[in-house]
């Protein structure tokens, strides 16, 4: 498939630190691409650079045919990117509903789509008018993902959605990610839980020290424990 997102030679500096040192990869349209790598490899920085929250100091980022590396974050968002940050960043003083109203931008909340979201995240329906700050960690993560899918977007960037969540909640998130995928939405997903990565990923890119050190099909990567060991420094059984 043709790539929806293409990063070519992307460098990012944070202050005087040179974090991304020439990142190259593509995200094919309609698939889920996993971005893996050790802590501190630069995954979050990559997603933030794509969103324009850090400025790329060199290289190009293209969404289909459009160069977005110089665009402001709101323009990148309006070009069709939705971002679920590692911190979830729900607006805790606002209700669940108000969080989604802002995420829908100019569109009104769509009942059919909400019903679809409530299907895998029933807690959001239950706490519809509660302040997001009162939700549990897992519920906040659901809200953060719901914000990204409340309207159809072209590309979802999701950063470690299962981090610190109970297994039951991880299951619901995997359901949701599979469902998003079935709907044909393109996803770039950072995930440390290898079982989750294996379940939802079509393709995989592995980062280390601010560079992509491996890119290929998920099935192939999942079958090669030696490669996993080498790139992620963790074997499957210790990873759980």
């Amino acid at each position: 498939m043709s790539p929806l997102l293409t990063l070519t030679g992307v460098h990012t500096h944070i202050g005087r630190y040179h974090i991304l040192q020439g990142v190259d990869f593509t995200v094919p349209e309609g698939e889920t691409t996993m971005l893996l790598g050790r802590n501190g490899a630069g995954k979050t920085t990559t997603l933030r650079t794509i969103m324009g929250l850090w400025r790329a100091s060199a290289g190009s980022i293209r969404l289909a045919e459009r160069a977005i590396e110089k665009d402001a974050t709101p323009d990148i968002s309006r070009a069709g990117l939705a971002y679920v940050p590692e911190t979830m960043a729900v607006f805790s003083d606002l209700t669940v509903r108000e969080n989604l109203v802002l995420a829908a931008r100019d569109a009104a909340l769509d009942d059919t789509r909400l019903a679809w979201i409530f299907g895998f995240f029933p807690a959001l329906k239950k706490f519809w008018l509660s302040r997001a700050g009162t939700l549990s960690g897992g519920q906040k993560q659901m809200l953060s993902i719901a914000r990204a899918i409340v309207e159809p977007r072209r590309l979802l960037l999701i950063d470690e959605p299962t981090k610190g969540l109970a297994p039951a909640i991880v299951g619901a998130l995997v359901e949701c990610l599979m469902e998003i995928k079935r709907g044909g939405t393109t996803v770039l997903l950072v995930e440390q839980n290898f079982r989750v990565a294996q379940a939802v990923g079509d393709r995989v890119c592995v980062m280390d020290n601010g560079r992509i050190v491996h890119a290929g099909a998920m099935a192939e990567f999942a079958g090669d424990e030696g490669l996993q060991q080498k790139l992620l420094g963790l074997s499957l059984d210790t990873h759980q």
Partner: protein
């Protein structure tokens, strides 16, 4: 499908009403010390009206800090601008201001308020462009640059209107007192309380019932995420900056009429007080600013009567006590 609903684990947030009760508690606690109930009513209304004026002035300041982390020590300039605009507009309207009918007094104030708010808002655009935008994210520079801006604004006002005090008589219809039992309450103070309540209610309605308001509250909490959802926080900020400056201008009109004089030194005089109020309230919180302003003003009035020697430092003492209890203010909203 894994249906999960960990609702049982939901931590219920206690409604945080204690800070809102503080002014009531303070007023009741002061009563036995003051003794006479008529004096107490007079002092309390004086405190409330002063609090409302400070609230009008400081509400913009707290939102500007909350939204963009901007410490604007030049905010007071818009108070002074508002006050001079009132003097300018009211001078030729002496016919109305000196009439006995309430409606003509209010009719004279209306254009003064509109001009004061409009001019403050318009000047704030230039102020933001020239002084605030170049120093985003740099607190020390913000303080120095905006303080410099305040001094320049003050000198410009002296150059335009002269260094002398300008008298600003209160419209005749707003003079005098209304007597409740044996307590006399100045009419103008009642008007100030009403105006303050209207401003507070309007701000709360905007913040809770409109999309712009939701965006402002969301931006105070996490402006990156607001941008990542596709909104230009810069535009929102300029809007808030203008509205906050307009409110400072309105506060300037109210304050000048209360003092019945206009002078540019009011800008510096009130700057520290406004910062004390928004720190007490919790930076970024309009409700906090409202409660904080009332507390500061009540304490100032009670202390001025009971222990005049303490009156000068009463606001600082109040701030210290509140911050010992709640280090991020009464209503902490930002993570900063």
């Amino acid at each position: 499908m894994t249906a999960i609903d960990s609702g049982a684990a939901l931590p219920k947030r206690r409604a945080d009403f204690i800070p809102a009760l503080l002014p009531v508690a303070l007023a009741l606690a002061a009563l036995p010390f003051i003794g006479s109930s008529s004096t107490w009513i007079t002092l309390t209304v004086a405190g409330l009206s002063m609090g409302m004026m400070i609230f009008a002035m400081a509400s913009g300041l707290t939102l500007v800090f909350g939204l963009m982390d901007v410490l604007n020590f030049g905010h007071g300039a818009f108070i002074a601008v508002g006050a001079y605009m009132a003097a300018l507009v009211l001078a030729p309207l002496a016919g109305w201001t000196q009439a006995d009918a309430l409606w003509s007094g209010l009719a004279a104030l209306l254009p003064a308020v509109i001009v004061a708010m409009g001019v403050s808002a318009a000047l704030s655009i230039a102020f933001e462009r020239a002084l605030i935008r170049p120093v985003y994210g740099q607190h020390l520079k913000q303080i120095l640059v905006t303080m410099g801006g305040l001094i320049v604004a003050e000198q410009l006002l002296y150059a335009l209107f002269g260094p002398q005090l300008i008298a600003l008589p209160l419209p005749t219809a707003l003079r005098g007192s209304i007597v409740f039992g044996d307590a006399a309450v100045e009419k103008y103070r009642l008007l100030a309380v009403i105006v303050g309540l209207v401003i507070f209610a309007t701000l709360i309605l905007i913040l809770t019932r409109t999309k712009i308001g939701l965006l402002i509250r969301a931006g105070v909490e996490n402006r990156e995420m607001v941008e990542a959802l596709g909104y230009r926080i810069q535009r929102l900020f300029i809007g808030v900056f203008m509205a906050g400056s307009a409110l400072a201008g309105l506060g300037g009109v109210m304050w000048a009429l209360y003092r019945e004089q206009v002078h540019a030194s009011v800008a510096q005089e009130l700057t520290v007080l406004m910062f004390i109020v928004i720190i007490i309230g919790g930076l970024g919180s309009v409700t906090g600013c409202f409660i904080g302003a009332i507390l500061v003003a009540l304490v100032a009035n009670y202390a001025g009567f009971l222990v005049p020697k303490l009156a000068l430092v009463s606001d600082i003492l109040l701030m210290v006590v509140i911050l010992l209890w709640r280090p991020r203010g009464l209503f902490p909203v930002t993570s900063r």
